[in-house]
Symmetry: C2
Subunit: 356 residues, 2 copies
């Protein structure tokens, strides 16, 4: 159990209007959590303080060598006023997987979840309730040694900030158009693709801009070795429903093991829908589309929940899915997932965790 | 021409003792350079101010999505008191190559070099003169938008800090032992390997620690696709002298185009030594060693200059080079390069730039 020292703000900010549809990631709440790490001393000095800038040496290693990780999850307010988190222990576990890959000291799972709970409780008035909104929770760790030279830092800061958010994509539940990238690579087996590390995201920007310029809102990555197996989308895992079977790339070391991905697989299994986690090549998708067997395509992620894909472009081929509408499985997954998250549907999976 | 506003420190720090061998990257000088970027306004507000911490929002994009780049070069004081930079325009060009890959706004080359010159001039008393020391110059750019979501930032800071340094490796000119990594991958074609981006360095830590634990000081990376072609060392490019020919991996998109690498190639050409920039597999190195043709191996980098490699380990094979001593070519390159940098040898290549 962390002993969290709390200092409340004396100048609370104004809450956003409750009808504000909320842009993603632009507004932050009144408080934040910080905890420091020092070699020999471990994680210490857990505290909740007013949301404020942080001060770092210009030589702090995070600015130079990219030793940083983050997580993302959400808190929801139910109609009867309870506060629910969705599978926070999965994020705690993934944090530690990322930490091991990036040589960052791990954080005990229970401490991770406790810190989130206490912070969310203090800023609970910030949890929005308008349809499609929630409180986005962003835990992250940065390396702070004032040192130039390539080695793991000996000091770190673990922080959590909160942001009331609306839909991640302006499209909302409308199908997005996806660009299949064949020049740039996001991550490769043996690299840090399965870690939630800043370095994976900066690597994705150039292709994302190219896609935007071509009128596409997201990039679908192919593997870096063969340049033919499907990996994932910028901030989502990807699923294909082909001839009544749901197929998604297996976790191979270069894609993020999404919490939503795992939840979708479990829901499909529960409903008796066949799911395959395996290699899936772009040719297979292309051929399935040509043969009229590509029934649905959707992305999954905390920020975007379920995001139907209506249109895929690979080289000069354009694949239109489901006449550009949302498919029945995507819709059912979206309804069930958000229903559970908002406490409207019975949580038979035991996924939600209440903040008391 | 930048209009740089200068504010001098009123509390200068104590200079290190002139006989201090100086650890790498731990001491910083009295001043730093900063310039801000804002979309629509461009780079502005160039200033030199006392060395001090910087204050950033916890949501600053650099902490989350790894949008950061850095450079490294050195200033030297000659025996007759002149201050020399080594090929700073190469670093300016590489900065902009990196910026393009990471979707960071570019910096005019002349502004980059001017900022370095003015800062070095103000802190010139910090340039150490003991054999093997110099003033390390660290320009870097960080993304500062207070925003969660994957896209390029609209605001940045470009900063330069200075550190008086000794040898990068404790071994100095003594040969280092190198571990050839076959599990982890640093970068892959299509990724950001040729950019000087933090994400490449954090990806290297895990293998580096494994190597240390086995008694090796550096990692030599193999390519991420075939896992057999030589790439580079953690912070150096690599050269092999095989049967009288100098061979180094060609620039293929996944390795850093080193300034020292380029200088070594030009010096060898000038001396009539045959140099090949091409694919070189680990098997070729292994076989050359077996046949007694692996004459020298050395790394090249600003921090390490020329670093002879005495010992390579690949899987269970150990290759001992030059009986563990420094080879004649490595020694000649080291002497010539440092001679030019320190103004002791005529600079026939026009590489040095004087800070007046
Ligand atoms: C690269 C990447 N893939 C997939 C996901 C989806 O993961 P999750 O469902 O845990 O949010 C995310 C977002 O978190 C991501 O950033
Ligand atoms: C990954 C990497 N390769 C090679 C080098 C050598 O480049 P340079 O000679 O420009 O210092 C460096 C250091 O700058 C480096 O970080």
């Amino acid at each position: 159990m962390l002993d969290i020292k709390t200092t409340k703000t004396t100048t609370p900010k104004e809450l956003p209007d409750k009808d504000d549809p909320l842009k993603f990631g632009t507004i932050f709440t009144d408080h934040m959590f910080i905890m420091d790490y020092e070699e020999g001393k471990g994680w210490h000095d857990a505290r909740i303080i007013p949301y404020q800038p942080i001060s770092l040496e210009p030589s702090a290693m995070v600015f130079h060598y990219g030793q940083e990780m983050f997580e993302g999850l959400k808190a929801y307010k139910t109609e009867d006023g309870r506060i629910l988190l969705f599978r926070p222990h999965m994020n705690a576990k993934r944090t530690n997987n990322t930490c091991r890959r990036l040589c960052i000291p791990e954080i005990p799972e229970e401490d991770f979840v406790q810190a989130i709970k206490e912070l969310v409780k203090i800023d609970k008035a910030w949890i929005p309730t308008k349809e499609g909104t929630s409180l986005y929770i962003r835990p992250f760790i940065i390396a702070t040694d004032p040192f130039l030279g390539v080695r793991p830092s000996h000091t770190y800061k673990f922080m959590i900030i909160l942001s009331p958010v609306g839909p991640y994509y302006p499209e909302g539940l409308n199908p997005v158009k996806i660009w299949i990238e064949d020049e740039y690579v996001r991550a490769v087996k043996g690299g840090i693709g399965e870690a939630k590390a800043g370095g994976n995201y900066v690597a994705s920007l150039k292709a994302q801009i190219k896609a935007y310029e071509e009128g596409y809102s997201q990039v679908l990555w192919l593997d870096g070795v063969h340049r033919k197996y499907i990996e994932e989308v910028g901030a989502m895992n990807i699923f294909f429903k082909i001839n009544n079977v749901v197929v998604t790339p297996k976790l191979n070391g270069s894609i993020l093991p999404g919490v939503t991905r795992d939840s979708v697989i479990k829901m499909c299994n529960h409903w008796g829908i066949k799911v395959e986690e395996r290699l899936i090549s772009i040719d297979e998708v292309y051929n399935a589309h040509k043969d009229g067997l590509l029934e649905e395509v959707f992305g999954t992620g905390t920020a975007a929940v379920i995001s139907p894909v209506g249109h895929l472009r690979w080289e000069n081929h354009i694949m239109q899915v489901e006449d550009g509408g949302i498919g029945p499985l995507s819709q059912k997954l979206y309804n069930t997932l958000t229903g559970i998250q908002l406490g409207k549907i019975e949580d038979v999976y035991n996924w939600t965790v209440e903040v008391e």
